[in-house]
Symmetry: C3
Subunit: 254 residues, 3 copies
């Protein structure tokens, strides 16, 4: 039972995606026991899966699944496999490890857009839940892509079968995607997304910084989907979503 | 036995308050075994208690108490209960969970000052150790309160029964309370506190950043009471208090 | 077995030194099981060893050694002992605890350079692996020492028996040593080191920030020795070294 349940605190339907940077199985287990119920999926960030042993990865996948959390390898690892012309081997191996989701991205290399969509379709054929990501890892490269093009691609990726599309924010949340160099939201870009007819339930905003989480919640409601949340910030985000921290206190309708 | 005891390192009587943002019981247990002896109290930050299960909260309270650390729920949760007109229910429930302290604050909402003092008295009647907090969570609201008023209220709260008064610093330590936008101490405000006749043993300065901890130690001695210390910084703070880190090396009298 | 081994990811010979700020034995054990294989040595930062019990320190030393990691007490603790005229007692006690390395530094106090070299020789006589450190903890003091003098001393310390020389970066990596106030590398200073005839295999650059790690890897190759790595960043650094993160993706030769 939740503690302080007599306070009748508001709830939400938002998806929270955490970033696992190589946490130990024990740390994952202990953490999930406290806040696994608030997490929908766990990204093994970028290529971190490939520098952990098969045994560790499989152990962590099992733990996450036990708590109802869907783990998946970061998009950079897909890109590495794609570059090496080993995409199908990648999918087969992810399945063997126990992953039920994969991420398809083109943040670290250029992938022909039709190839990216083809990869999304292929991953769906393999039976995966697919998250695809829009945005470049490089500040300079990312800045070259107008938001209108990102929105157009985002729609095409959903049509190709992506279950969710992730908007890039990296681990740091600055000078990338929707964020300026201080980590503040670029309002014009955000407005273009708002004014498009995209189903917000299909979007995950990477929002590692507290001010970003607050702004998304205040603008789109506490059920907005947020990603790249650090382990240490999951409980904090949950309190923000539910009006239990000063920043959103009294501002979340019951 | 302490290691390196032949070095006869200076000690201190300062109170250290940590902030628990939803750490797992195992993490708390493992950490307390290393540095629980340096901690006086552990705040379950803002409303985080209410998004952890009753079982987890009670388990953590037991662990803290086993190591001589007094846990308490953050003031924001008191305010939530107060707003819902459930203050007595809140106190009764805190007692049932095993908390021996509570925090009375008005950081997230306006509470008539006489009501705040009345809450302090009521919590004392219930048998709690009471920490009350001075300051607003909002940068704008906090800036509106002159330091002279904070000092006046602080004294009245002590008179109302507060065992300690906490000076707000939030988790971030910037643009709030005694700190400017870079996290540096506002000297004028600090001087007003120094020049008042307040018993420093009754004050806890929230000082999450290292430069703040150093400045308090250098100015008021290594027994100054400091709060909102992250788990990862407890050992570091202890070395700062004892002249075992470059910043205070050779500056702490034996 | 490494996961995703079919991707044939490049490896390296770089030394990675982590900073232990008072982590619990359990946390160390769980972490080493995941990434101990990537770590050469673990520094018990500055004087943190002296505020942990003998039992905890010995337990942690055993864990590190079990995973092939060499733990050692930070240089500040050596300086504390030196100042108290207890250097030999310090060495004897370090040996008793199980440390196989020590660090000789003069970051927090002035030590006559010939005395520093004498301490290096003495520690070697005691059978320790010796890491000596160049640089001051104080921003002002550190800035007074020209890079040419640092390079000269560095060579003399190696001649005195140091197995490795560490270039100071502190935990924060800003306004110190090779870093400017934003944590960017000072190119001129770095060039002077490059243009000297120092064996890079003998140098460890303290590089706590990601941009620093990237710059060292891109400039000196992925086998550059890097130190003051936080626990949470070990896996990330390993991916940077191996082209598995956007920042070095496609830039690490096989």
């Amino acid at each position: 039972m939740e503690s302080f349940s007599f306070l009748k605190i508001p709830t939400h339907n938002g998806l929270t995606m955490i970033i696992d940077k190589g946490q130990s199985p024990e740390y994952v287990e202990h953490s999930m026991r406290v806040f696994g119920k608030y997490i929908s999926c766990a990204k093994f960030g970028w290529g971190t899966s490939a520098v952990q042993s098969e045994e560790i990865i499989m152990e962590k996948i099992e733990i996450y699944k036990k708590y109802g959390v869907k783990p998946y390898p970061g998009g950079t690892l897909f890109e590495y496999a794609f570059k090496e012309d080993k995409f199908e081997e990648f999918l087969t191996y992810c399945k063997k490890l126990g992953f039920e989701c994969v991420e398809i991205s083109d943040g670290s290399m250029d992938i022909d857009f039709s190839s990216k969509c083809e990869c999304i379709r292929k991953a769906k054929e393999f039976g995966f839940i697919v998250l695809s990501e829009i945005g470049k890892k490089s500040i300079e490269e990312d800045a070259k892509i107008p938001i209108s093009e990102k929105i157009k691609n985002l729609k095409l990726e959903l049509e190709s079968g992506s279950d969710f599309v992730i908007l890039e924010g990296r681990e740091g949340g600055k000078s990338i995607g929707l964020y300026d160099e201080k980590g503040n939201l670029k309002q014009d870009d955000l407005n273009e997304i708002v004014n498009s007819d995209i189903d917000f339930k299909k979007l995950i905003f990477e929002a590692p910084l507290k001010n970003q989480q607050i702004e998304f919640i205040m603008r789109f409601g506490n059920s907005v989907n947020l990603g790249n949340i650090a382990f240490d910030e999951v409980i904090s985000l949950e309190t923000l979503r539910r009006g239990l921290r000063g920043d959103t206190f009294g501002k979340i309708p019951k």
